[in-house]
Amino acid sequence: MKNKIQKIAYNSILVLFLTLNYSCSDELTERNEQFPQLNPANTDDLAGTWKTFLLTAPDEFSLDAPIATTAAAFTREINEIKSYQASVTPEQKKIIKYWSAGGVLRWNEIMRTLVARHNRPPYQNEDGTYPAPSAASPFANPEFPFSNPPYAARAYAYVSAAQYDAMIATWHYKKLYNRAAPFTVDATLPVLIPKSTLPSYPSEDAVLAGVTVELLKLLFPTEIAYIQEKAEEQKLYRIISGANVRSDVDAGIILGRKIAGKFIARAASDGTGAAIGNQALWTQLESQTAATGETPWKSLDVPARPPMLPLFGKVKSFLMTPEMVVASRPVPPPSTKSEQFAKELAEVKRYGQNATRKNMQIVTFWADGVGTYTPPGHWNAIASETFVALNYSEVRWARNLALLNIAMMDAAISCWDAKYTYFNPRPSQVDPSIKTLTGTPNFPSYVSGHSTFSGAASVVLSHLVPVKAQSFVAMAKEASDSRMFGCIHYRSDCEKGLELGEKVGGFAVARALIDGAE
């Protein structure tokens, strides 16, 4: 009897532990690790003639002619590749696997990580005021930047637009100099990635590294070491894999840096630095709304926090003039004293009281709040996973992400313009008994940022990938609804936000029709 019990006890504990070891495998399968090597079906040979954003011409910045492939110096460059290939380390194989999925794609992913890492509101001072991040002293508390949704939208747009212009210049020079790839010159050279039929000077990956590093230094100055490390990996990957020789890479970095300069100069004077406003402006926003008889927005943060980037609506757009921003502005929200408003407030309250698990899932899935890559980052992730399957050339990757991100920057500008024109309160401000299922953003309610971003993104993506239009529209609607289910927005905020997003997204679509790529 005693033995039997002992046996049962030992066996139970043994079984328990075996189950445990089998059932708790910790390996995660991450989607971006499954991406295949980029092997474009269409190399977009004529992309050197596509319309640029800031460059006056694809050769606005000069690039020296390369040495001939018959030169002894070129042979030595091929020998460099061979010497790397003689012993490729597991770490180097990992780098090749990572970067060969595509340079535009990987830099976009890196940016999403940087945005998420810096998307944290400043912590209050002892006296209840808040310190502001400063580009001049980025390591001070709070670190610069606070990559909130408008900051992030602009950052994604600048990097994507600069990469696009840089790729146009790259395609131009590839065609102009027409220098053969190392594996074409030396047929015995093994190539570790799919062979491109394009001329290899300058290296598109190096141009991407050159242009992106410079912009990211500006946008995320505390991350320079991290960014440089990634760029070094990308350069190394091109040489070890046999896709480029050293001079392709060196030329690419130089060209990329020059082009970055043009975008950095524009960023310095686009109005973002002043978007935070000051106490006089914050007070004025409140009093001018109160003067109309409406309830002005109040921060629900404790201690009360100044409104997020009240002058972001004045930031210089890539595709919209200030007049177009005003012309696109949505009609005023329902008055807080109107029956319509009462109805919408009651609807929000109902969503809170009857929060289904399904609604909570939707709220969480689209929340993209503090510590995340923001709604524009979410749409970049959606776009990237769509584009991976379409096997674009690097120049088309850059173009499509530039159109998407410029549209979302315009969404941020237009949405913030509406928010600070109307300065209306969140549901929980009007009715404190309304509890929310996600954090209450620290800016006025009308119109919903998520809805505007999503409307713009779905319009652009539907144009670029028409077969998936239905799914993009459905996602945008769900993202928009999520803010109502989460009890932080009224129906008008969401519906008018989607409309506004679709309208400004239309400007990017109009540009897509004439940029030479379609």
Partner: protein
């Protein structure tokens, strides 16, 4: 010989996690002890990494729970224990909605392979194997107001108990293996972005020390408990949101008592409290609990039925 005839659950709840019976007492054969415990736990300061702070947008975060517990004596040295808490969370300030619902069911097999009395002293050793799993579809990714962390866990605890007269001391240590969880997002940030809805949960080690007085009528003990998350977790960065796979450590001190009624010896009352004194990425909780337990001798019932 140590008498364990009327022993019952003394609970040392950690966070709001599955609770394991970790006292040096066994239910005797065919006895079934069951009961309910009400617990109130709250904090208004927490550790963001190692930085201790308050959050005026949360105010006081409180967790109330009612837990159903049972312990069946398969034999005098083999017990099977379960617990199932219903949990309600709330923040006193800010706009965030609290949560409520059933949390995790935990099952523990408690085995005493060794017990020896030398003179006035009794030495015993125990092995405890536990499993826990969520029983409702609550969201883990709603910290600090989520009902729990959702992770299926399996734990192995080794425990030694020494009793001399009515005074005793118990020391135990456990390794808690935690399974990956899935959340409602398809990407999330730890130190970089992970493009999956699956989260790798770090394992934990728990060390528990108790000392006190133990008789058939009354048990009173002081408890020191240390929960240390193993590698794979990460800190909440400045003014960021918490995440289920954060490193969550807590050092707690507390008191547990159990009193068995003289007139109804099958009924006992328990109560106690514990306080987090040091932590990392957890709230500095103060916890108070009380409950009732009743013991049935199932053998007797069976025999009566057979007659």
């Amino acid at each position: 010989m140590k008498k364990f005839y009327l022993s019952c659950l003394l609970l040392a709840p950690l966070f709001i996690n599955a609770q394991t019976e970790i006292d040096g007492i066994m239910m005797s054969k065919n006895n079934f002890c069951f009961g309910a415990v009400y617990q109130h736990s709250s904090w208004d300061e927490y550790w963001e990494g190692t930085f201790k702070r308050e959050n005026l947008n949360l105010g006081t975060v409180s967790t109330k729970s009612i837990t159903l517990n049972g312990n069946y004596g398969v034999s005098d040295n083999l017990n099977i224990i379960f617990s199932l808490p219903y949990v309600e969370t709330k923040a006193s300030a800010g706009t965030m909605e609290g949560q409520k619902g059933l949390q995790d069911l935990s099952l523990t097999i408690k085995y005493m392979p060794f017990e020896k009395t030398i003179g006035k002293a009794t030495y015993s050793l125990y092995v405890l194997g536990g499993l826990s799993a969520p029983v409702s579809d609550y969201s883990a990714d709603y910290l600090p107001l989520s009902l729990g962390l959702r992770s299926k866990t399996a734990s192995l605890r080794l425990m030694g108990d020494y009793q001399r007269g009515r005074f005793f001391t118990t020391l135990s240590g456990a390794y808690v293996k935690r399974a990956n969880i899935t959340i409602d997002r398809d990407s999330y940030y730890t130190d970089e972005i992970h493009y999956t809805n699956e989260v790798d949960m770090p394992d934990a080690i728990s060390v528990n020390y108790r000392i006190g007085y133990r008789s058939n009528r009354l048990i009173a003990e002081a408890v020191l408990d240390n929960w240390v998350t193993q590698s794979g977790g990460f800190d909440i960065t400045k003014n960021n949101m918490p995440f289920p796979s954060n490193t969550m450590n807590a050092l707690k001190v507390g008191v547990n008592t159990k009193y068995t009624l003289r007139k109804i010896p099958a009924l006992s009352i328990i109560g106690g409290c514990n306080f987090v004194t040091q932590g990392r990425n957890v709230g500095q909780s103060n916890t108070f609990y009380g409950g009732l337990f009743y013991i049935l001798n199932l053998k007797k019932t069976v025999q009566e039925n057979e007659k």
